[in-house]
Symmetry: C2
Subunit: 225 residues, 2 copies
DNA sequence: AGGACAACTATACCTACGTTTGTAATGCGC
DNA sequence: GCGCATTACAAACGTAGGTATAGTTGTCCT
């Protein structure tokens, strides 16, 4: 069962349209409740679960968020859950909390990319600081991902030939070389190249090159010394 | 006092011209000796110290290396040493070992970029695996740094004006725009631009753009929508 | 069959880029 | 003073890039 608790308090404070969500996975009911209260008290939205399975089964909203995760859980453990999320390429930043942890656990968690690993008892402020760091990390990741996703969708509007031309342009070949490479007339390359610039909304070649960098496009041609 | 111990055994195995060095900082003499033996037994060069201060005072050779560091040390602790190294921008990958550690320690170490954090007793193979991962990380970092350093030194052979032109070229401006920006004739820009290509050894504009990316060169000009 | 679209080319024209050759002023170090 | 690097520009020329117009062929969908 999940508890969705939004902090809708009158309007004394301007609600950000996309408020950060803190997910909590913690089997201990009283602990779960107190975490929920803590986060709500500072104006964060909270969605709490009693197990990893419950969270995996729910549909996660696509907003800035982080996960406060108890290491010791019934069913899937916190560390296994972390691995599971990574496999599903769900990149939510994780803050572990635990009452009975050990060093190898914490090291594994941190190697796995966790933001923090707190041992009970901890001060509220410690956890809040970690949550702020985690949501900030998520915000940045989402920003970067969005930029790349936008570029990718532009790139996909290109016809196969246009994509091929773009790749070869990015490697620095001249139009006539591209034409030879693809078995085309130079004029055709010029025209496709024009299409590429328009469709990618590149204002300059420099622009386009940087786009290919962001997209990880690299034509595998040997370079002559 | 530091103990420098190279594994020069006959010639049964080809000595790599730049063998990896494992630095060890460990105050316990018998532990230090056994670590040294372990690393030598697999053909690694070892330089061992009894304290952080000793290592800081010695001249570190500029080769692929990593640091196996005891957390509990006389004088500067392992964690303080980690901070100190970071401040001096010495980026050697660190593997912590400890007999009496706790979770906050390990978390701080990992947050600080440590490769691993092992608790005694550990299996030899665990430590060796960590050392291999650490040296690999250092090798990659050195490679990247070298590439950028090479570019930087090329960039510094450019005259101030040539550097300015390069920056503006990288932003995607046309020669005539660059000329206006710098108060020059277009022909002058063309000539400097030619110098830039030659001196930077760029085979194409795409090449040059990627160089500016690697160098982090970005002219702060507002872009029109 | 007809329409839409991708792929491809040609002619023509204009702009942008790049190099060569030559000139000239300035400033710095020895 | 001499040599040298830097900065700067001009004329002339050749190459590369880019666009507009116009047309062919083939495929896929309806």
């Amino acid at each position: 069962m999940s508890e969705r608790s939004n902090s809708q308090r009158g309007g004394s404070k301007a609600e950000t349209s996309a408020n950060a969500i803190v997910f909590v996975v913690e089997d201990d009911v009283s602990m779960r409740r107190s975490l929920t209260n803590l986060f709500q008290s500072v104006g964060l939205d909270v969605v709490a679960f009693g197990s990893a399975r419950e969270m995996l089964q729910s549909t996660l909203p696509d907003v800035v968020s982080c996960l406060v995760l108890d290491v010791r859980l019934p069913g899937l453990s916190g560390l296994e859950f972390q691995t599971e999320l990574a496999k599903s390429s769900i990149h939510i930043p994780i803050i572990f909390i635990t009452g009975h942890g050990d060093i190898p656990m914490s090291v594994r968690a941190m190697k796995g990319g966790a933001v923090d690993f707190l041992t009970k008892p901890f001060r509220d402020q410690e956890l809040l600081d970690a949550v702020i760091a985690a949501t900030e990390r998520d915000r940045k990741r989402r920003q970067d991902e969005k930029t790349v996703a936008n570029l990718k969708s532009l790139f996909e509007t290109l016809s196969p030939r246009e994509q091929a031309v773009m790749k070869l342009v990015a490697t620095g070949l001249m139009n006539k070389q591209i034409a030879a490479e693809l078995g085309l007339a130079e004029i055709t390359v010029k025209i496709y190249r024009g299409h590429v610039m328009k469709k990618m909304r590149a204002r300059s070649l420099a622009d386009l090159i940087r786009m290919t960098e962001a997209l990880g496009i690299r034509a595998n041609r040997p370079e002559q010394t």
